[in-house]
């Protein structure tokens, strides 16, 4: 039961965090200069966006949940199970970020989910 709660936190907080960070990075704009000083400026700009802070907080929650579950289960099970967030991610991309998710991309996401299900079934 404890593991399920941690998995839900990893998936829920992780996906939510990534969506918030993605939204913040879209507001920052496309990074074209990869010079270290320019990158520091990019991150400083990102840190001024509130979505970034919400995202980082959610991802920190997901990270500590991941640490907890990794102390109980094998990496080869834990990490693929977290891929269940793909369905939520595609939905979030469509409805939260306004991305146009094509049928082909949905098909890819579906395959990823089937793969994750097999990984879970392969536990025993």
């Amino acid at each position: 039961m404890r593991e399920v709660i941690f998995y839900l936190l990893i998936i829920g907080a992780g996906t939510g965090g990534e969506l918030c960070i993605s939204r913040a990075m879209k507001a920052v704009g496309e990074v074209t200069d990869f010079h270290p000083v320019a990158l520091v400026r990019v991150f400083a700009r990102a840190l001024r966006i509130s979505w970034m802070w919400v995202g980082v907080s959610l991802m920190a929650t997901a990270f500590f949940s991941l640490l907890a579950v990794l102390s109980m289960e094998n990496v080869s099970l834990v990490v693929p199970v977290t891929a269940l967030s793909y369905a939520g991610g595609a939905l979030g991309g469509k409805f939260f970020l306004g991305e146009r998710v094509t049928r082909r991309r949905w098909a890819g996401v579906l395959l990823v989910c089937v793969g994750v299900a097999l990984v879970i079934m392969g536990r025993r």
Binding site: M25, M72, N74, Y86, C113, A117
Partner: protein, 138 residues
């Protein structure tokens, strides 16, 4: 205006960094946490003790370093590519996690699980054949 090939090259390069450092970070975290033992968080004292053991582990710090590298690449790629493109594309990392867990941590991975990993990678391949950006940049 950026050419499509330049955009794809930049995207693939950063996804490659993500695919290497993300799984490595997770495997190192797994190794570190296994050494520490099952997390017991019944009381605040147990939680503090666990946190102290986590912060003293060199393996976990190496894992955190790898994940930070992954995260920086991830943030950069998200500045131009769609989240729904990057997220599944990085799923190829699941194959890497299985390989690293098998060879570095000696985890037993059943044929069904390998099949699952293979299908995840197939899904990634399908996603990789869609355009990285479907919305207009602002």
């Amino acid at each position: 205006m950026k050419s499509s090939s330049s955009l794809h090259f930049k995207t693939y390069l950063l996804i490659l960094i993500m695919v290497i450092f993300g799984p490595l970070g997770n495997v190192l975290l797994g190794k570190g946490m296994k050494r520490i033992g099952a997390a017991s968080m019944g009381t605040p004292a147990e939680l503090i003790d666990l946190l102290a053991r986590v912060l003293r582990s060199g393996t976990i710090w190496l894992g955190i370093g790898s994940l930070i590298t992954f995260f920086v690449a991830y943030m950069l790629v998200l500045s131009w590519a769609d989240y729904s493109y990057v997220q599944p594309a990085s799923a190829v990392a699941y194959g890497m996690v299985a390989l690293l867990a098998h060879f570095m941590l000696r985890e037993v991975i059943t044929p069904v699980r390998w099949l699952g990993v293979l299908i995840i990678c197939l899904g990634v391949l399908v996603v990789g054949h869609t355009p990285p950006r479907t919305t207009e940049s602002s």
